[in-house]
């Protein structure tokens, strides 16, 4: 392959990667924006919040009222005693209602959708705005092995 042809190939390859990565990144931010927009349209929302203490005790706060745009941590603190630490990636929940994380057990949050079933929270609870009719669930569970087991 001549140097000119080789250079042309690499320039095309670079532009291709740039176009693909830029498109995906734009799609990602569009998805975040649309999601947040949809969740914060209503000033007052109602959602279901559950706590599973890992010992058979499950507590549900159905149709809990909150402000549109409130995060999961805000709403959890409305109904439970929460101890948390703020890190650069967001809040880390140390305990809920005096049930503390240990080396092998921790509070992990999940959401329920008809489409996917249970999905583990992708970000810290203080960065996740809940939407109207959404179901969130705190599960005190074994975190010594990954992937974590889905709530029962």
């Amino acid at each position: 392959m001549s140097v000119k042809r080789r250079t042309f190939t690499f320039v095309v390859l670079a532009l291709l990667v740039w176009a693909l990565v830029a498109s995906l990144t734009s799609a990602y931010y569009f998805y975040l924006y649309s999601n947040l927009f949809q969740k914060t349209r209503k000033p007052i929302i109602h959602l279901n919040l559950g706590f599973n203490y890992g010992n058979g005790t499950v507590q549900w706060f159905n149709q809990t009222e909150a402000r549109g745009g409130d995060t999961l941590l805000d709403i959890t603190m409305q109904v439970a005693k929460v101890n948390h630490t703020i890190f650069s990636y967001g809040a880390f929940v140390n305990s809920i209602n005096n049930v503390n994380n240990t080396a092998s057990k921790a509070w992990i949050w999940w959401t329920w959708t008809q489409q996917f079933g249970w999905s583990q929270g992708p970000i810290a609870s203080d960065r996740y705005a809940l939407g109207d009719d959404e179901t969130a669930y705190w599960y005190y569970q074994d975190v010594s092995a990954w992937p974590y087991s889905t709530p029962p």
Partner: protein
């Protein structure tokens, strides 16, 4: 001029070291957005050819699937192995002359970006398969689009970091290995 026997011994020794380094890298903690396995696999491919490059890539990702500090790869393991073996294969196909010209830095930077994008597209396919499994009601194609979009920031981070790593590191690493082999 080293004898053929000595060259073979050096090749075996160097390849063994590369396998050991590749395996060791998998158990080390690293910040998200930074990994050295692709560069190592690519450089191995350039020096030892596509078959050994691909084999090393597949092997280290097999190890990664069990020992990574990010957790077990599970269903994603074959996709990670395939992705990394493609990087090793392309390394073997890439013709880098033995003179360390600036052109090769630019070319390897572009290859780093492209191969990282290909790798993450393949591993995202693995996550999409996982996401499309029951009880999920979405199709594989829908899952694939979702996962590509959700994983965009990771793809971007790794693409940028590997562009820099390949652009800066591939040429000196390959030249050093060639020197060690007396080529």
């Amino acid at each position: 001029m080293p004898s053929k026997k000595r060259t073979n011994t050096r090749q075996i020794a160097l390849f063994s070291i590369l396998v050991a380094v590749g395996t060791g890298l998998q158990v080390l903690w690293r910040p998200p957005g930074l990994e050295f396995t692709s560069l190592l696999t690519f450089s191995t491919g350039v020096i030892f050819g596509s078959v050994l490059g691909a084999s090393l890539g597949a092997f280290v990702m097999f190890v990664n699937a069990f020992l990574s500090p990010w957790g077990l790869a599970g269903l994603n393991m074959p996709f990670q192995m395939l992705g990394m073996s493609i990087i090793g294969t392309v390394g073997g196909l890439y013709k880098m002359e033995n003179d360390g010209k600036a052109r090769f830095h630019a070319e390897t930077a572009v290859l780093g970006a492209f191969l990282t994008f290909v790798y993450y597209s393949i591993t995202n396919l693995g996550f999409a398969v996982y996401l499309a499994l029951p009880p999920s009601s979405i199709t594989l194609l829908e899952a694939l689009v979702l996962v590509q979009v959700w994983g965009a920031i990771f793809t971007l981070l790794y693409t940028v970091s590997n562009t820099l790593l390949f652009g800066i590191g591939a040429v000196p690493i390959v030249n050093t290995m060639r020197k060690l082999l007396g080529r």
